[in-house]
């Protein structure tokens, strides 16, 4: 086993253990904090793929902002009491069925897709390449996404100011 495989398995274990903790913690705050190792593990996987820019963005947005936001919201609600919440309800069989179907679907896709060879050497400075592809070939998708985010921002402000 070479170093890359070793690193991959270590990171994958981190993601999986963290993910399991997120799902199985009966304490909401524990579940939210367990997102941190999970998302950091994913960032590590991006490092293995030489995607430094995506790594930094992953940590900045997901770990530094979204997890904090989730924690902040939990702390403002009853979830912050630290009391254990009920984890199962009567819909367990249904959920099992959906999960099983998803596993089968992913497995089939995984086997069917012809995994092509790597797209050649990476540009030496990839943030620049990312920026150029945002503003040239994918400019429409990029602008539409920003509009959606702007709309949700305005919506959030409107909802928050309703008391006037």
């Amino acid at each position: 086993m070479n170093a890359e495989a070793l690193a991959f398995y270590a990171l994958a274990a981190m993601v999986l253990v963290g993910g399991a903790l997120v799902v199985y913690s009966r304490n909401l705050v524990h579940a939210a904090v367990s997102l941190v190792p999970t998302l950091l593990g994913v960032a590590g996987l991006y490092v293995l793929l030489h995607a430094e820019f995506v790594t930094a963005i992953q940590i900045l947005i997901y770990v530094g902002a979204i997890t904090v936001l989730i924690l902040f919201v939990i702390l403002l609600t009853e979830g912050a009491t630290g009391l254990r919440v009920r984890q199962r309800n009567e819909q367990v069989p249904l959920a099992l069925g959906v999960c099983g179907a998803l596993v089968v679907l992913l497995w089939v896709v995984l086997l069917r897709v012809p995994w092509g060879p790597a797209a050649g050497p990476l540009p030496p400075y990839n943030p620049g390449a990312v920026g150029r592809s945002f503003l040239m070939p994918y400019v429409l998708a990029f602008e539409v996404t920003s509009l959606v985010i702007l709309a949700s921002l305005v919506g959030a402000i409107v909802i928050a100011r309703r008391e006037e």
């Binding site: 705050v29 430094e52 900045l60 530094g64 904090v68 902040f72």
Partner: protein
Amino acid sequence: MGLGGFLGSVWQVELVRMVVLAAVVFTFLAVGGPLFLVLAERKISAWIQARVGPKHVGPHGLLQTVADTLKLLYKENIVPHRADVVLFSVAPVLVAVAALLDWVVIPFAPGWVVRDLNVGILYFAAVSSLTVIGIVTGGWASNNKYSLLGGLRSAAQMVSYELPLAFSLLLVATVTGTLSTVRIVEAQPYPAYLYPSVGVAAVVFLVAATAETNRIPFDLPEAEAELVAGYFSEYTPMRFALFQLGEYGSLLASSALFTTLFLGGWKGPFSLPWLGPVGNGLVWFLLKTYAVVFFLMWVRWTYPRFRIDQLLGLSWKVLLPVSMVNLLVAGGLVVIVR
């Protein structure tokens, strides 16, 4: 060489190098950070308030912090009743580690950087945002209303001030055309027509960095008068010391990044021939960094604390619009001149 180079070379050698560098940086952080800065803070505050400050331990009180650290090591670790033990223990470590990770991309002198990442300043912003998770979980896990409020305030404050900070970084990236800290230092001094924009970005950065490190006038998360030290009021000896390490470590790291981005990093107005390029670089870099630290301490002991609404208003209503306009102006200038 970016992060990817890590896998290219012999990895056992890289691993050893990594551990050694972590030890070296951590030692620098612990000695140059809390151990020295706590003393400096006490001496400077004493000087500003016309007192004497620590005087009795060692010559002129120089060993006061060493004695305090030893005392902290001997005392008992207390976990409050019904606190969340795991998160309570993890939180201070997270804060200290986040402060340590900042130093990976700081260039001390030509060639003296742990790793010159392609995405250097973005990396800095990313890992310094990990601090807030430690503070929030620490505040919650203490099972104390003041700590919880401190943690909540900290989350609101740090998320708000990350935006103006990011805009300042973005402006530097636009002007220099790179995210690597080493190449940003090499690109300085900035051309004269960009001085106003870079100046505004520097001021915004300094204000936002003060808020990110939770220092007066932005120390709402700990505000002794209302929150009894906030998120760390339940923490005893070594865990409290780790929070201090994190706080002073990120203060030092922010000052070092300010030096790197706006004060020319390791470059100096003149060089002393007998020191060589690395020696000169180190001297200038440390001089500038500690000058910024001194400025922040001066501010801390001069101004009173903001209210939380003033604090958030300052970020969203003043700093953010100013930095957006500033970025537009700087971007326009760069495009026109090129």
